[in-house]
Amino acid sequence: MSDAHVNPRERQQPVSRGWWLERGSYFMFMMRELSCVFIAWFVVFLLLLVRSVSRGEAYYQHFLGRAAAPGIIVLNVVSLVFVVYHAVTFFNAAPQAIVVSAGGTRVPPAFIAVSHYAAWVVVSAVVAWLLVGG
């Protein structure tokens, strides 16, 4: 694109491709956005687990063995950090996205965030119980 076609406003504020490296808060913003890549990886990992369970016990054991490879463990630990960061930022932003009114008054924003965290604890506990409880 030649300079003649650039919008003058854009020309006034050139933003470099590495803008998010200039400040800690920008960097954390980019890390939050990057969490989606690890969510996509988890979907792949989960589908491989589902597939292995469908195919039989030997395949399930094979999956468990592959998941225990050092590289995969490292990838999953990093993914866990990113996904937890995604969860915290998403729940903290929930009061801005969800406005609920009850009886004509607005439900306090803090309540919306706290209810998300409460649901997170309950859901995690139920999943843990289904997997290893009892």
Binding site: M1, V15, S16, R17, W20, M30, E33, L34, S35, C36, V37, I39, A40, F42, V43, F45, L46, L47, L49, V50, R51, V53, S54, E57, Y60, Q61, L64, A67, A68, I72, I73, N76, V77, S79, L80, V83, V84, H86, A87, F90, F91, A94, A97, H116, A119, W120, V123, S124, V127, A128, L130, L131, V132
Partner: protein
């Protein structure tokens, strides 16, 4: 315009997928990605996991988690690359590739989840 009508749906999938992923992925990743592989907790035996996964509610939850998470990924990745990393020139390519990947991944998810015995 078609794009204008689709955009709110994509934002809904993004935020719905974001909530589902936030609620379910950390605990699943903690067990299957960290605790079981490191031997800190014994993994569920095959019969138990098969029984759990065969349940229609589990299947539905797995399908919703996969599909919504994939669209969450597609939407966020698209904006991160196009706006965040300033690759506007390739928007025409990145946007369709992201959503087509989510659609293809959803189809595979549905097929594999249906195939659980």
């Amino acid at each position: 315009m078609k794009k204008l009508r689709l955009e709110p749906v994509l934002w809904m999938l993004f935020s719905g997928g974001g909530v589902l992923a936030a609620m379910l992925i950390p605990v699943l990743l903690l067990f299957f990605g960290v605790l079981f592989p490191l031997g800190l907790t014994p993994p569920p035996d095959y019969a138990r996991l098969l029984h759990l996964m065969s349940n229609p509610i589990t299947r539905l939850a797995l399908l919703a988690l996969c599909v919504m998470s994939l669209f969450h990924f597609a939407h966020r990745f698209r904006y991160t690359v196009v706006d965040g990393l300033k690759v506007k020139q390739l928007d025409f390519l990145i946007t369709p590739v992201c959503y087509l990947a989510a659609i293809a991944g959803s189809a595979v998810s549905a097929y594999w989840i249906l195939q659980i015995p």
